[in-house]
């Protein structure tokens, strides 16, 4: 399985993602944002960080970079594209995913472990996942998911919500919503479910000695599903 991680100026989780993908069997390549051609890939990952210093709006500049044209084509052809944190922000700014990520409700940068509940396993990312609830890390200032009333209706009608913020038992409520996200949304798919954006960082949970193992479960399951 071949993967590509895109590095934008200001990405800072790109190498963590590279380590995680390689650990679970991907042959990963780092791709520079100014490149035009995407190497042959089964999965493209837009990593976390602060691309272009979060100028204008998070992810807005990166979403117009040269490599994004190839990524748009790749995704429109059914290719798997996953964005984590700033990668999620880039995906919504590029139009591959609906909605937008606003400043956190209480205006604070949030850096902590949270629980997320998988909402839809009928896709390559979570199919046959042995867990329903992950403990993952979030670190963001703009993770407050928002979209129009028409968009949220369409998202629910098409079962596009991937992950909800929840408590450890899977209860989805205001107390388990760290940033004010609409309907506790932590991650969403496009209509075809080949594009996934999420705020939590699975690549930070791949070592039980350092953090936890729920990211390992995600990546192991992902590569098995793509095989």
């Amino acid at each position: 399985m071949h993967s590509s991680v895109i590095t934008f100026p200001g990405s800072n989780c790109d190498r963590d993602m590279d380590v995680a993908l390689k650990k679970f069997g991907f042959k990963n390549r780092m791709v520079w944002h100014d490149d035009v051609e995407l190497p042959k890939s089964d999965l493209v990952v837009l990593p976390g960080g602060f691309s272009y210093g979060d100028y204008l709006r998070c992810g807005s500049m990166a979403s117009k970079s040269k490599i994004m044209k190839s990524i748009l084509n790749f995704a429109q052809g059914g290719g798997k594209v996953m964005g984590v944190c700033n990668g999620f922000q880039i995906l919504v700014e590029s139009g591959l995913l609906p909605g937008v990520l606003l400043r956190n409700k209480y205006l604070e940068f949030i850096c902590k472990n949270v629980f997320v509940k998988i909402n839809n396993k009928d896709n390559s990312y979570f199919k046959d996942d042995k867990k329903d609830i992950y403990e993952l890390h979030i670190a963001h200032n703009e993770g407050n998911y928002f979209c129009s009333k028409e968009q949220i209706k369409e998202i629910n009608d098409n079962n596009q919500i991937a992950l909800f913020y929840s408590d450890k038992n899977g209860n989805i409520n205001e107390q388990s919503n760290p940033n004010g996200s609409l309907q506790n949304i932590a991650g969403i798919f496009n209509k075809q479910k080949n594009v996934l954006g999420m705020m939590p960082h699975p690549e930070r949970m791949i070592d039980p000695a350092l953090s936890g193992e729920d990211g390992s479960i995600f990546f192991e399951n992902l590569i098995n599903n793509l095989r």
């Binding site: 807005s60 117009k64 909605g99 937008v100 606003l102 928002f146 979209c147 129009s148 004010g180």
Partner: protein
């Protein structure tokens, strides 16, 4: 030709920064404020001399990059 653009959050989008500014001003003694909404202002100096053409270009810039129409409205001002 210089063209200015003001970008504001749509009415139904929460503006926590505006709220905090409101509260701070209130704490400083500025009473009687109903609401504060924070926005962005751009000055674009374009080589185009035809006003209509310049505005059309800026309109396109707003739609494609400067504003996110899911949450923001923009207004071109001269």
């Amino acid at each position: 030709m210089k063209i200015s653009v003001v970008i504001t959050l749509k009415r139904d989008v929460l503006d926590p920064q505006g709220k905090v500014i409101h509260q701070t001003l209130y704490g400083m003694g500025f009473e009687g404020i109903n609401e504060i909404r924070q926005g962005k202002y751009f000055e674009i100096d374009t080589k185009e001399n035809d006003k209509k053409k310049a505005e059309a270009k800026v309109d396109e810039m707003c739609k494609k990059l400067l504003a996110n129409l899911v949450i923001e409205d923009f207004k071109i001002i001269r």
